[in-house]
């Protein structure tokens, strides 16, 4: 499938050179673009296809007090620079407070801009999210952002193909997030390097689009350039009627093409991992990279249990940073904060999964719990269903859309030493704020943990 999308986007191919690929959609945000626009101006170049470029503000933006000036003048400047650049080059921008604003990887699909068979890039590693639709989508750096702005193409080396096949049925309470955490735990943070991962098998086909996005989103945490799922009826039903989806005869033509994208029977992969869905359970991370995970019924591992010297050393450092003792059952670890949000788990289905757990319950005194919808549309949809009232009655803060506490670039941060159950994607040192301790979990586990005050699954409540 990745090869089909690749081959249909080659603009120029020559011996000894990388393929020049056409880019169908370029998503941009405030953090990784200012220097790219400066580069354009220095070289006297314009934006080739502003109509294939979409901008939003998400990383720096506060999730409360949207009508107030930003507290941090450096963040405020970055926001202003994006607005000025979009105005100068004629790029559509969903600014803070706009009804379509949100996390870049939530709004692309939501607006119907993310479609099967497309090439999609963004100066953000979680661009892999869009692969859930059978698009070839990957993160790029600022030099490449400038390159796409100027030419709408990128020189790229063809990646290898890896299959992650998940057969069988997930047990009740086991989610897409648990599935991908288990995959990363199995293959490691470098296991997918140089590869595009195609997720296949009955358990993947059984996932909703939201679930597939969660899985593809974290492909980068396994080191993969991109993740993909073959488009099917679930994909088409989700897309139909969205603002930028094809209509009428165009819809029929598009679907006919999209049906040809699935990997051919008998195609071979450079690497394959097979996982039994029925054997999976809810997972939680214990360390400082997303490969350091255990089932929630497990315990903090001992560094001595790792055969590899570097892994053992990494585990020792991680336990010291995380303030954890080897052998402690994960369910016995108390948390100070719970964050439900991020491009991994902030869509309506994620919020529903959390709301049903906290409905009629309350977080303990002293625990900080926050829900941050992925987009203003998710926020509006959730409010129409009354989810905001469920969360607030349970003691959660209900915020406006943005990256929020996923990455410590805006006012939503952990304090040093604070321990957080988070539905985000990275448990790196300091990721959620200097000295903060992040544990990656699913929305259902985050919600149950918020109520219990320690790592928990909904059945335990």
């Amino acid at each position: 499938m990745a090869d089909k999308v690749w081959d249909s986007h080659v603009v120029h191919r020559a011996e000894g050179e990388p393929d020049l690929l056409y880019i169908d959609l370029h998503l941009i945000h405030e953090v990784t673009t200012p220097q790219a626009f400066d580069g354009l101006r220095l070289a006297g170049r314009g934006v080739r296809r502003p109509d294939l470029t979409l901008a939003t503000m998400d990383h720096n933006t506060p999730t409360v007090g949207l009508d107030l000036p930003l507290e941090d003048p450096i963040s405020a400047r970055q926001i202003e620079v994006l607005a000025a650049n979009c105005a100068e080059f004629g790029i559509t921008l969903y600014p803070m407070g706009h009804a379509n604003q949100g996390i870049v990887h939530v709004i692309g699909p939501e607006q119907g801009l993310t479609q099967p068979g497309m090439t999609i890039v963004c100066g953000d590693s979680h661009t892999s999210t869009h692969g859930a639709f059978g698009a070839l989508a990957f993160g790029i750096g600022t030099s490449e952002v400038e390159h796409v702005l100027a030419t709408q193409t990128l020189p790229q080396r063809r990646p290898l193909n890896m299959a992650v096949t998940v057969e069988g049925e997930l047990r009740a309470g086991v989610t897409a997030k648990d599935l991908i955490l288990a995959v990363i735990g199995r293959i490691g943070t470098g296991g997918g390097m140089g590869h595009v991962i195609e997720y296949r098998g009955s358990a993947i086909r059984g996932l909703s689009m939201e679930g597939r996005m969660t899985v593809c989103n974290m492909s980068i945490e396994a080191g993969a350039r991109a993740g993909m799922v073959a488009p099917d009826e679930t994909t088409f039903a989700w897309l139909q009627g969205r603002p930028h989806a094809p209509r009428g005869d165009d819809w029929d033509r598009a679907v006919e093409y999209w049906r040809t994208l699935a990997t051919d029977e008998g195609a071979t992969f450079d690497k394959e991992v097979v996982i039994d869905a029925a054997a999976l359970s809810p997972h939680v991370s214990w360390g400082t990279n997303p490969g350091q995970v255990v089932p929630i019924d497990g315990a903090v591992p001992s560094p001595d249990s790792f055969a590899d010297v570097a892994e053992a050393e990494a585990a020792r450092r991680a336990l010291a940073y995380m303030g954890l003792e080897a052998g402690t059952p994960m369910r016995a670890v108390p948390v100070d904060a719970v964050f439900i949000g991020s491009c991994t788990n902030s869509r309506i289905e994620d919020l529903r999964a959390a709301a049903v757990v906290v409905d009629g319950r309350h977080v303990p005194v002293g625990l900080r719990a926050m829900v941050v919808p992925g987009s203003m549309k998710v926020k509006a949809d959730a409010e129409a269903e009354g989810l905001d009232r469920v969360f607030m009655a349970a003691g959660f803060e209900w915020r406006a859309a943005g990256c929020s506490m996923c990455l410590g670039m805006n006012p939503d941060k952990l304090s040093p030493g604070e321990r957080c159950a988070s539905t985000s994607n990275r448990n790196f040192e300091g990721r959620q704020g200097r000295g903060g301790r992040t544990h990656l979990v699913s929305p259902a586990v985050a919600a149950a943990t918020a109520i219990a005050g320690h790592f928990a699954t909904p059945e335990e409540l």
Partner: protein
């Protein structure tokens, strides 16, 4: 970018695996709209520890960073590369790099030198034992030589990227030689593909 042909200098040993780009340049630094001045932020959280290797005077002035495997994982932030360059590094040696980080290196002019695990370990151990060990990296021959450490090895670098390093070529300029092919491709794209302007 400026041409990069031969890098020769001392090295800093960073004996850690899975060094993510959040550690190389913490997110607070990403709010800046400039491309320069990131060296101060390089590994800024780890540098708060006075014993951290970059704080040891014996490693001052090094131009090569030798790290454990899976260097530069995580975020796509090119600021990580800018920070390493701004600090004074010209090359990073590791058994394996994060894909996006590696690409960012080749765009900004920092040489990613991928060596096998044994050579990486030998180099780390040698530089830890003797900060004066000189490492010489030759782009034209794709070789890394550290005679005092007994390390002599080759590293992968495709012909196109090698040529760009040697000649310091502007990537956008190279692509624009194919402007006609881009226009021809655009003319045959299906009409139903989405645009961001109309819905």
């Amino acid at each position: 970018m400026e041409p990069v042909r031969v890098i020769s200098g001392t090295a800093v040993p960073l004996r850690r695996s899975d060094v993510d780009t959040d550690q190389i340049i913490p997110s607070d630094w990403l709010k800046r709209v400039e491309r320069t001045g990131f060296g101060v932020g390089l590994f800024s959280e780890w540098r708060a520890d006075p014993d951290f290797v970059l704080n040891q005077p014996r490693y001052a002035g090094a131009s090569v960073l030798v790290a454990g495997t899976n260097f530069g994982t995580g975020s796509s932030r090119e600021h990580a590369v800018w920070a390493l360059l701004d600090y004074g590094f010209q090359a990073v040696v590791s058994p394996r790099f994060g894909d996006i980080f590696r690409t960012n290196c080749t765009k900004a002019g920092l040489l990613p030198v991928e060596v096998d695990a044994a050579a990486g370990e030998a180099l780390l151990a040698a530089v830890e034992a003797d900060p004066a060990v000189v490492v010489t990296i030759d782009v034209a021959t794709r070789t890394l030589l550290a005679a005092a450490a007994g390390v002599s090895t080759t590293f992968p670098l495709d012909d196109f990227t090698q040529m760009r390093f040697l000649e310091g070529l502007d990537d956008v300029g190279l692509t624009l030689r194919n402007a006609d092919a881009i226009a021809a491709y655009e003319a045959r794209r299906p009409a139903w593909l989405p645009t961001t302007t109309a819905s």
